[in-house]
Symmetry: C2
Subunit: 186 residues, 2 copies
Amino acid sequence: MILLQHLSKIIFISKALEDAINSVAKEITLPKNTILVNHKERCRNLFFIQKGLVRGYYYDEGKEITNWFAQEEEFATSFYSFITNEPSPETIEALEDCQLIQISYTDLQDLYKKFQETERIGRIITENYYIKLEERFLNIRFRSAKERYQNLISKNPSLLQRASLGQIATYLGITQETLSRIRAEL
Amino acid sequence: MILLQHLSKIIFISKALEDAINSVAKEITLPKNTILVNHKERCRNLFFIQKGLVRGYYYDEGKEITNWFAQEEEFATSFYSFITNEPSPETIEALEDCQLIQISYTDLQDLYKKFQETERIGRIITENYYIKLEERFLNIRFRSAKERYQNLISKNPSLLQRASLGQIATYLGITQETLSRIRAEL
DNA sequence: TTCGCTTTTTGACATTTATCAAAAACCTCC
DNA sequence: GGAGGTTTTTGATAAATGTCAAAAAGCGAA
């Protein structure tokens, strides 16, 4: 399973832990456009993406604003809701047919308790996601819309084929019209 | 020690762990305006603030842009540099006379190895900092400069007495002049 | 291949915030 | 209690991006 391979890059996964993960990780297949988590609903699952593309978005004044994209070998969840058990402020949808691995919050907490080494995995993954978020934060503060767009296509060129320009524009913190104009002048 | 009290809110701290933390945690006192970490220098320490106010800032086109403030009972470090061991993109300075607890990266890694329960503490603290960063990220995307300012003074009114308006303005993602105008019209 | 829907682009104009310069207010320390 | 520095405010103008509306392009299904 891709998830196990992914985790074993962080620390050695014992056979016992492997079995435990396998027993709680559900492989699920979802068609494009499926809503995984609805806005205002508690998100009690962590998803690992084996295949496909998922996005989280907010509603701001009735408009969908993309908060993140997640693709192969990445985790997706409404982090805030998952950790705090509060209703999710964001909606999560599959932008493509997806193959995911689903782990529930309670199963994850059990893993943390029974296999102390998973705490290390959790810490390191969280640290890495923190750094990615900080990078985006700085990007939005210091770079112009054009720079952010160029940065995105250089780092993740395939996203342009996989998501609509409107979804990408709001991810970059601009409107679709502005993104269209940026593209026109390049 | 305040740090131990703080950590014991997360999990029970055994006597052995308490001793281990005490043996690696250095209490330091710094006068106002001390630079704790210089831009481009690796940051190999984590600081816990017992007393005082600290800020991290970037340079953007020669100007200081506040990235964060940290005060009593909070951690401060150049997170990116601390985790990746790359040079710090930010400078960290004491805005007031400070009493800090300093733990080095290697000592922290030793704690993680010797006391598995510290992994749990590290994970939970990182999760909480992630959520705080996400909240700020959304704040900057969805709220106007005025709303961000009002939000800040309602959540942390004393900051206005402790940091200059210029430092606060760049923290909010606006210029000092804009913040001044916002205050004038309230 | 064309109809109908969705996505993308274009145009005109509005809004927010930045920039640069200078004045005013505020400290602090001799 | 002023001199000199720093911080904050004010003014005029510019730049970046948003808003609303409509046209154009793209695309899947009959």
